[in-house]
């Protein structure tokens, strides 16, 4: 093993671009995933028959099939219906749609944790339903959903490696390609691993900072997780997928 080669790989344009691609994929997918999750959660909340049916079908489809299958399906099957998407868009679409199915549950638990009385109090003050959602429900729900959402974000970073199967030039694909050219797998994959670990660590620290910022009273700690606990809970969650 050559440390210089690891370093050389890490600063090479191909690796930096791969890492940026992974980051971009992750952020796009998580943002869209939260949006999809919010829509599903609100649709479930309406308690209309059609809303229930649609969301149940959605959850059944996206939780009942592997993400890898969804990625390949969207990339390879949609073109035969005339929907031609780039590999990147296909990847983001598959990851977001899949994420939405899990995010819906998290968003819903957050929305439900805000008691009906709080909404009624907002309505009684003359707020519209939208204002109640925006100024009363979401700020309170955000504090509750933030820890699990942070876990999802880190999970997404790792899931994003799956898009290498549809030739998106992400970190894993780049590492694999470079290694297969000269069979220096150890160095190339070590370089990629360091990037992954660096990104997950930064995400965790951001999450902790955000949790503290969303806490109106700095001294009140609703849930305090150490970095190690975060790592463990993340690995548990991904293992069950």
């Amino acid at each position: 093993m050559s440390l210089e080669l690891v370093l050389e790989y890490m600063v090479s344009p191909a690796f930096v671009e791969g890492a940026l691609m992974t980051l971009l994929l992750t952020l796009c997918s998580i943002v869209c995933g939260v949006a999809v999750g919010l829509v599903i959660a609100l649709l479930q909340d309406t308690k209309t028959k059609i809303g229930q049916a649609l969301t149940t079908l959605y959850l059944w489809l996206f939780r009942g099939t592997p993400v890898l299958f969804q990625i390949i399906f969207i990339y390879n099957v949609l073109p035969s219906f005339g929907i031609r998407l780039s590999a990147f868009v296909s990847g983001v679409l598959a990851l977001s749609l899949n994420e939405g199915a899990y995010m819906a549950e998290i968003v819903r638990s957050g929305l439900q944790a805000v008691k009906t009385g709080q909404r009624v109090a907002g309505l009684a003050l003359g707020m519209t339903r939208g204002q109640v959602l925006r100024f009363i429900v979401i700020p309170q729900a955000a504090r509750i959903v933030l820890p699990p959402m942070g876990n999802q974000l880190i999970g997404m970073l790792k899931l994003s490696a799956l898009v290498s199967v549809i030739a998106v030039q992400d970190l894993l694909l780049v590492a694999n390609q470079i290694a297969s050219a000269n069979f220096r797998y150890f160095e190339a994959l070590t370089a990629a691993g360091i990037y992954y670990l660096a990104m997950t660590t930064v995400f965790m620290m951001l999450q902790m900072a955000l949790e503290r910022a969303l806490d109106p009273k700095a001294r009140r700690k609703t849930r305090k997780w150490t970095l190690t606990q975060r790592l463990l809970s993340v690995s548990n969650e991904v293992a069950t997928r």
Binding site: Q118, L123, A124, L125, M127, I136, Q140, P216
Partner: protein, 249 residues
Amino acid sequence: MQDINDKPLLVLEGIEKSFGALKVLKGCSLSVSASETVVVIGPSGSGKSTLLRCMNLLEPIDNGVILFEDREISGERNDKHVVRKQIGMVFQGFELFQHLSAVENIMLAPVKVLGMSRADAHDIAVGLLRKVHIPDKAGAFPDELSGGQQQRVAIARALAMKPKVMLYDEPTSALDPEMIREVLDVMAELSAEGMTSVVVTHEIGFARSAANRIVFMDGGEIVENKFTEEFFSGAVGGRARRFLDQILH
């Protein structure tokens, strides 16, 4: 003040309301004049709270008419929030917004609903906290306040919208006995200043001292609707008398 008292601010006519097969309001009619304090009493399940929630359209009615300042506000409409801006409500469970401090709880609706500047809203909020006798609690969060303090912040929050009428839904029922007084005192002060109020309560002492009129409900009907002195002098029917005997002993 007496002459404006004759002008009805809020009028309910033949209000009917069912929850499923259960008919909770069986044709209730009531008129509340400006500056008047009306206390609604009656046994649990008599429909008092439901009637109150109908007044600010939180509960849609099945039949009847509600007039607010001579305009009909009942019936299908999608601007209920416009009506509610002018009607303050205080709940049994306080319902302060848990993520906001006392002063922010009071400022939220003036800023977001009325479009007031934060500075103006802050001034109003501080003034209102003084009015409810907790000027030093501006920065406190709901879970740092006692029940009595929370309820007074909730009253201030409703007052910040400069409502034309205040509705109180059993405001002291969730309070420890030693805190009931401080909340009732604030309500009585507001009534004395001429704030039109409708109060659902079990506090007969408050009814006796602060109310202009007592409404007694039983089984979804308004059974008695009398001036306070008249009501307590015994000029009431058997149902109200039995209820009074029960809660006074």
